[in-house]
Symmetry: C2
Subunit: 205 residues, 2 copies
């Protein structure tokens, strides 16, 4: 069964990026703190083409997320900020569907990554990603707005949050306060590692 899942590193105060994010500060001021737990992991380094790294429980959880994803959905802002860094051989190695308002031809990169630009909304992007995933899962890579759109459309099946022990005091929140529907969750797993706590939930619709 194809599950639609999101997996995000979040500060205890709910931010996935610090203040003033943009090309200069891709994760906002202080935001790289949220991803520090990743950079030494073997399962983070391999898809980025970097050798070595640690094989910890964190690495296993990341590997589980990566290997289960057959297609990716992301927002245009994340794409615009990330693309210069991801370069010729991006770390996705799977078809990526980018939520945007402007049509644009598909881009094909090395290593199995392609970027398809979807202009008719989150439901369409998820449907196309499901078809492309070939029985594997669809991963909502971010940003927060993309996760919120998929959640609001009722299509998100599970969410895993890595709670990072820091308060960023501002930035981009994973969850909005726009009065969206109240959603009950079922916690399915808690894993405590030295750097983060992995909290995994199923979305009960």
């Amino acid at each position: 069964m194809t599950l639609v899942s999101a997996n995000m590193s979040m500060s205890l105060d709910g931010f996935i990026a610090g203040p003033n994010d943009g090309p200069e500060w891709p994760l906002g001021i202080g935001g790289t703190r949220l991803h520090e737990w990743l950079y030494d992991l073997e399962s983070w380094r391999a898809p980025h083409g970097i050798e070595g790294g640690e094989s910890t429980r964190d690495a296993e959880i990341l590997e589980e997320e990566i290997s289960s994803a057959g297609a990716i959905v992301m927002g245009k802002r994340m794409f615009d900020i990330g693309e210069p860094f991801w370069g010729a051989n991006p770390p996705f190695h799977a078809p990526v569907f980018v939520l945007t308002s402007k049509e644009q031809p598909m881009i094909t990169r090395e290593g199995g990554t392609s970027y398809t630009f979807v202009t008719d909304g989150a439901e369409s992007a998820v449907a196309r990603a499901k078809a492309a995933a070939d029985g594997k899962n669809v991963s909502i890579a971010g940003g927060a707005n993309a996760v919120q759109q998929v959640l609001r459309s009722g299509l998100l099946d599970e969410i895993q949050v890595q709670v990072v022990p820091v308060l960023l005091g501002g930035g981009i929140r994973l969850f909005s306060d726009d009065g969206g529907p109240q959603v009950e969750l079922a916690r399915t797993r808690v894993v405590e590692s030295p750097d983060v706590v992995h909290l995994k939930f199923r979305v009960l619709n």
Copy 2:
């Protein structure tokens, strides 16, 4: 050593009360969901004068928080909304210092609870609570604004959050995004119970 600590039930999306909180909906729409894990606990019922209840790990953690607190600090809004419910024999059984802008005589209730109104800021309220706590801890009972004031003043030593598996979509956030200082935390304990995850942190100043 007297520690200043806060202990709050929070939805995964960061709210400690749902939308439209006030006298009619003390915890906002959907907000009582955040406290459901408490009502059957023996250590919640006893200070409220209700017999019976469960002796679970949740009950132990709550008991630990209650028994370690020698004095309480709370905001005026929480006081105004809560006072009609707490009544003649409030559940605090300790001196309570209420952060407010308007002077008001101290109120003494049954069972060891008193309400002292502090008009010269969070630092003063914490100092007075520390003096009254007689070597025990000072508990910041809420609401969010009181916790934020104490955090911003650099006087918060630890924070425990009960993550409740629900998205409220709006309401009162525990943590603000007003660009306060970025604060590193050290996670000191994770306890998984059927209803919530208890995440405890030390504030590293």
